[in-house]
Symmetry: C2
Subunit: 436 residues, 2 copies
């Protein structure tokens, strides 16, 4: 049995900054028993992860610090099935790349990863048991319910594919097969999560809790686009690229709603800043060694000479110059920005500096790991290295009469694209791009 | 290389009495190469097979006689998933029961079964490869195409289940995984078959030929009902039961359209009668030993003193008495019945006698096989042996607001039924009852 105090402290750490918690009592009950809750968060290893992933990873850091056993599902089967763009072999390389990267991020933050487990979807999603359960679900779930559950995360297209209907059920089964107590995701997953709560018990399985992050606009503002590499910042981008991209980011004076930079400060930079401040005071999570393995600069994003209790500093330079502003929480900063007391240029400089300090140890780890570099080449081969694009021959089906042409669908001739698909939301779930 | 004559003879045997053939040229090409075509026919081992199965089995006999390698798919996974009525263990017993029965029927008819292979769906439908292909299909097939393909064989209900959409794709994959050259089924399967022709090539697999039997009304007329055991004749029914049921069968004087007895004569009795006549003349299929292992009375359903070339005899008794009528083909008999020259009572007597002669060796084989009897008890346990019906507790899901009640579906409390589900059509295909 754990003390009430301990239970509450861990529960607060697990659930802070979330937008919604379903089934929180069951997590409290597990904590009260003194055993570590188990959780999972899934991502499909498709394109290179951009630094928007920090949003989910920062929250996962809370779980790990509270002693939660966290499974990160690298949903390779889903990645393969996402439009069938990448062959399984390529996805296998990307899966390894993702693991290298995510582990490195946690390590750089000084988050203990002994309770972090990486699982590949293909490890269990193609087994006899899982598939029988998938069929059982399909013989239980109506098209209507599946469609509603997936409405926010499955791409809505004119001719929806069957895969979109399978997706909520598969994500529900993952909870059972990963043996977790709760699943974590963005609030866009809510209908998928309540679907899981409804249907898992119908298969005789436990209903799990669901923890949801708020949705966060992309750091760069505007739509991320695979044809515009400047629309997202890669974890391995060099400082010049980061600087150029942040300079281009949409950040309108006084506009606090469409502002990816403010959102990033709120959901990533301030939490990390707080983490570092707490550690300086010796306040760690369940692991007293926490922070000792951290790499790179571990200063919070606040000036050394700021008053006690501050978590973020904006310096003022050039013609808008003046003394720096120190903030004790995000709200203060937002109020100042809203009142146009903080200039976008200074905000960008502060974010740029913070991101540089976050990415430096990751770049370094990459530079020092020939294994990771090798994987990177295999996972994201240089598109310019391809001199010839293989064209698929256009296939047209001629069904026999009387069915002729009725169901016919022409396979579009398409040049093989080496540009990977991008995750849609900050809290990328397997299949969030909609094609399973 | 096979002679043109041989190719034509085999092709005629393979395709005679069918309503439609798609891809016949590919079968001719295989025959011309001198190799045996491979085929599959599927059935879900649910309720006890009734003698309507003779319609498909008689046609399959043609395939076997033409040297076709026939796989009978006992779709146990589909049977399990059909409304999830029967647990997998029970389905396993039923799968064995079906194999015992179907093998016995072929043996009794003297059909060589050396090229007959029984395959269980679970042998391959739950493998990694099959499921990956299923997912690939689901990421390729639109809901619209899947729904259209299944329109005739998937039960149309107000709240359709996802399983109904998977079914056409799974049946297409079966062709690939069973490695066949053609699939055989009822004409009700046509849309499923053209769907397979469209989508298998999209996965990089060969397009198969499709052979279709006409749809045939049930022997008893009217709707078969699981609550009325008299609505179908079981292969193991004793003579008294057969007599009672045929007496009850709908057979209106002069009515040739809604007449299950006439249909049975056309599609089962006359073909078997012809088979026996041919054998008497030494005309066998590819196997010159054909017929030597036949059990029971091997007389054609025509009186000994009938003129040469006759295939069916109706005797006239009682007040409608007179000399028997001998028919050289079905059409002659239908014309006579339509003109009210054949009385329903005499038709029933002729059918009753023929069925008795067909069932006698099957009953005998069952009586002599303690193994089959044991399986029968396990596959279809005596409903009266159950004194207590387990009632499932009604489960009602209360989703958290705001999703409350939206997708909620109440699991109906249902007493466990020991009455097995019935196949819908004479040419039962896996999942033909619609719930996968």
């Amino acid at each position: 049995m754990a003390s009430t105090f301990e239970v509450e402290a861990k529960y607060d750490l697990i659930t802070r900054r979330l937008q919604e918690v379903l089934g929180g009592d069951s997590i409290k009950a597990i904590l009260a028993e003194g055993r570590p809750p188990k959780a999972y968060w899934g991502t499909a290893p498709t394109g290179r992860p951009h630094i928007g992933y920090f949003v989910a990873l920062t929250k996962i850091a809370d779980f790990l610090r509270a002693g939660v056993e966290v499974k990160i599902l690298l949903a390779d089967v889903h990645a393969f099935l996402d439009n069938l763009k990448a062959p399984l072999e390529l996805v296998a390389h990307r899966t390894k790349y993702y693991e290298f990267l995510l582990r490195t991020v946690f390590t750089s933050l000084g988050i203990p990863t002994s309770k972090l487990i990486f699982v590949q979807g293909s490890d269990y999603q193609l087994t006899r048991e899982y598939n029988l359960d998938n069929y059982r679900l399909c013989a239980t779930v109506t098209e209507h319910d599946a469609k509603k559950a997936g409405a926010e995360v499955v791409k809505q297209v004119e001719s929806p594919l069957i895969s979109g209907l399978l997706y909520p059920g598969l994500q529900a089964l993952d909870e059972q097969y990963l043996g977790v107590d709760f699943q974590f995701g963005g609030i866009d997953q809510r209908k998928i999560f309540t679907f899981a709560e409804l249907y898992l018990p119908r298969l005789g399985y436990a209903k799990r809790a669901h923890l949801m992050n708020p949705m966060v606009p992309g750091l760069m503002g505007g739509k991320m686009s695979s044809s515009d590499p400047d629309s997202k910042i890669d974890f391995l981008d060099p400082p010049e690229a980061v600087k150029r991209k942040i300079k281009k980011a949409f950040c309108e004076e006084g506009n606090i709603t469409e502002n990816g930079l403010l959102a990033f400060i709120k959901t990533v930079l301030i939490p990390i800043s707080q983490l570092r401040i707490e550690r300086r005071k010796g306040e760690t999570g369940v692991d007293s060694e926490e922070g000792q393995g951290a790499t790179g600069d571990q200063n919070p994003f606040v000036d050394d000479d700021a008053p006690e209790g501050m978590v973020f500093t904006i310096r003022r330079e050039g013609k808008f110059g003046g003394p720096p502003s120190h903030y004790k929480d995000y709200q203060e900063l937002e109020d100042d920005f809203s009142a146009k007391k903080v200039h976008p240029g200074d905000l960008k400089t502060a974010v740029n500096k913070a991101i540089d300090s976050l990415l430096a140890p990751i770049r370094k780890a990459f530079a020092e790991s020939s294994e990771w570099q090798e994987i990177e080449k295999l996972a994201y081969p240089d598109p310019n290295a391809k001199t010839e694009l293989k064209k698929k021959k256009e296939k047209v089906y001629h069904p026999p009469p009387p069915g002729k042409g009725k169901n016919a669908q022409v396979i579009k001739a398409s040049a093989e694209s080496s540009e990977p698909p991008l995750p849609i939301s900050e809290n990328t779930q397997p299949g969030a791009t909609g094609e399973l």
